[in-house]
């Protein structure tokens, strides 16, 4: 495996996908209405870059606010759920139930309570994205090796200490994994809320473009979202490499 290939592979993959997409659109004469070709989408990006950038910025920061809430809350709730079997058994089903519900159903309630705009978007991003974090933190704590736990218990450490010094670090690779899932969900949540009630953001722009019959612009918004997701991923990948190098020692490790 040459390391140049490795460095280039994300770009090659992305390029490949766009080329494939363009080809499919041209060969099968896919309707713009159904799926615009990348060339059309990039044209829309060029034409509307200013509103795209402005709205993308709004979406980015509402998403990040919701995501930050989700991370904090998810870790704390994960610890609580990992803490007590009674809470685990009681709360888990309820959380599963809550998460099986499409958040679209919840957004209107949030909008009625908090008005349209940024608050419901932040809350939706939060509500939709905390669950994977809870699950991975709780799993990490529950599957702690008793041997490592004993190291701290033998020192008379309190449960919280054990969780913080062993449970959380040990589960870090999975915590970061769950963050990758959570950030994508947070974007979805924020955008969804924006489509239902907001005067700005990519979700708002998408619906507007849709009702203006501008499918390429709709897909330009989606592209913007994808780019934002990838940028956030790059940030995590960086932080992750710093924190969890110890976990990715496998010679087969693709992450390191």
């Amino acid at each position: 495996m040459s390391s140049t290939l490795e460095k280039l592979s994300p770009w090659l993959f992305t390029l490949g996908i766009f080329v494939l997409w363009e080809l499919v659109c041209r060969i099968f004469k896919v309707d713009t209405f159904v799926l615009p070709a990348p060339s059309q989408i990039f044209q829309a990006v060029g034409q509307y870059w200013l509103p795209l950038a402005k709205n993308a910025f709004v979406t980015l920061w509402t998403t990040l606010a919701g995501f930050a809430l989700a991370v904090a809350f998810g870790i704390v709730l994960g610890i609580i759920v990992g803490w007590s079997r009674t809470i685990y058994r009681g709360l888990y089903p309820v959380m599963i139930g809550f998460n099986s519900i499409p958040k679209v159903a919840v957004v209107p309630i949030l909008i009625i309570w908090f008005g349209i705009g940024i608050v419901p978007a932040v809350l939706t991003a939060f509500l939709i994205s905390f669950f994977p974090i809870v699950v991975n933190v709780a799993t990490g704590l529950a599957s702690m090796e008793p041997e490592l736990e004993d190291v701290l218990r033998a020192l008379g450490a309190k449960k919280l200490d054990i969780m913080l010094k062993v449970g959380i670090p040990r589960t870090q690779p999975y915590l970061f994994g769950s963050l990758k899932v959570a950030i994508t969900l947070a974007f979805v949540g924020a955008v969804m809320s924006e489509t239902i009630g907001a005067n700005s953001g990519l979700g708002h722009l998408m619906v507007q473009a849709g009702s203006n019959f501008q499918m390429p612009l709709v897909f330009a918004c989606l592209l913007g979202l994808a780019v934002e997701g990838i940028v956030m991923y790059a940030v995590f990948a960086y932080v992750e490499a710093y924190f969890t190098g110890w976990a990715f020692r496998s010679s087969m490790s693709a992450a390191a």
Partner: protein
């Protein structure tokens, strides 16, 4: 001092929303002492709830949805105070190649209709008024995003929807203007009204002057828009960076022709209703929908905030 008023639209900022922006830009609201902000919305169903809950004091929504809302929530006395669309945009859309020319032709065909569609909600009434054998029409629940594409691809033979939405979506699908057939339900026996300005009851009770002022200023905006749509559309375009001015102007003109300026409006002035027709329209809703607390026409519309007829003449 200016009073802040949040006003909720049913949908995005498009050609037909010109009157409010005209009223803002020309200072009509300001003249009433109002500082109006306009928010786009998610459609009538969710929107009416927002007005009922008080998130917005005033909104622009479908009066037929309001009837159902009042039926389900009899103690929430949300009322319409200004009728905007004398004729609703509810329509059946089809293409020339299907050969459907009149309602009866729908028999034996597939009708694509989003379950949440305002136009589809009137389907049963439409069936009854036109003597269609309902059992012979196959109905497919197609969501909004796929409605027109499925018609264009021949997967369904006709669709329900708002006339101007369908028209432009079908144009986008590359169907020639001449091949697009739109049947306005109102032209086929439906007496339903369309969208109206509705108000939160508590707010209206506490601030009757504001509501009346809002209504008056809005009417001015409408009249200006009817007079000069080409200028009015600029007020919309200033607030929607991505819209195509030509499409929006077309859409506004179509809406003015079909929805705003009907013969009845020309005769009686803008903004009022014929209470007998409204009562009959409630009956027609009852054909599709099972009432539990059937509202009366008076429950739904009040003319108390309307300015005198003279101010409403075209």
């Amino acid at each position: 001092a200016q009073t802040d008023v949040k006003f909720a639209l049913d949908w995005k900022f498009e050609g037909p929303s010109a009157p409010y922006f005209v009223a803002i830009d020309k200072g009509y609201y300001k003249a009433e002492g109002l500082n109006v902000t306009v928010d786009s919305g998610p459609g009538s169903v969710a929107g009416i709830a927002r007005v009922a809950a008080g998130t917005y004091p005033i909104g622009f929504f479908d009066i037929n949805s309001l009837v159902k809302f009042r039926d389900q929530n009899p103690d929430k006395r949300v009322q319409a105070v200004l009728m905007m669309y004398d004729k609703p945009a509810f329509a059946i859309g089809t293409t020339a190649k299907t050969g459907i020319a009149k309602p009866k032709d729908l028999e034996g065909r597939v009708l694509g209709a989003p379950a949440a569609d305002g136009a589809f909600a009137q389907w049963k009434a439409f069936v009854k008024e036109n003597g269609i054998d309902e059992s012979k029409v196959k109905i497919e629940n197609v969501g909004f995003p796929v409605r027109e594409p499925m018609l264009a691809e021949g997967k369904v033979d006709a669709i329900t929807g708002f006339s101007f939405s369908m028209y432009y979506n079908l144009l986008q699908k590359g169907i020639k203007p001449d091949d697009i057939k739109i049947m306005l339900m109102a032209d086929y026996g439906l007496v339903l009204y369309g969208n109206a300005i509705i108000v939160n009851p508590d707010y209206a009770k506490a601030n009757p002057k504001i509501v009346a002022g809002f209504v008056r200023a809005t009417i001015k905006g409408v009249l200006d828009t009817i007079k000069d749509p080409d200028t009015a559309i600029k007020s919309v375009m200033a607030r929607n960076e991505t819209a195509d001015p030509k499409i929006e102007l077309d859409r506004l003109k179509m809406s003015l022709r079909d929805n705003f300026v009907t013969p009845w409006v020309k005769a009686n002035g803008f903004g009022g209703v014929d209470m007998a027709r409204l009562a009959k329209s409630i009956d027609q809703i009852g054909l599709t929908y099972e009432f539990k607390n059937r509202p009366t026409a008076e429950d739904i519309f009040t003319s108390q905030y309307l300015p005198p007829a003279a101010e409403r003449r075209l």
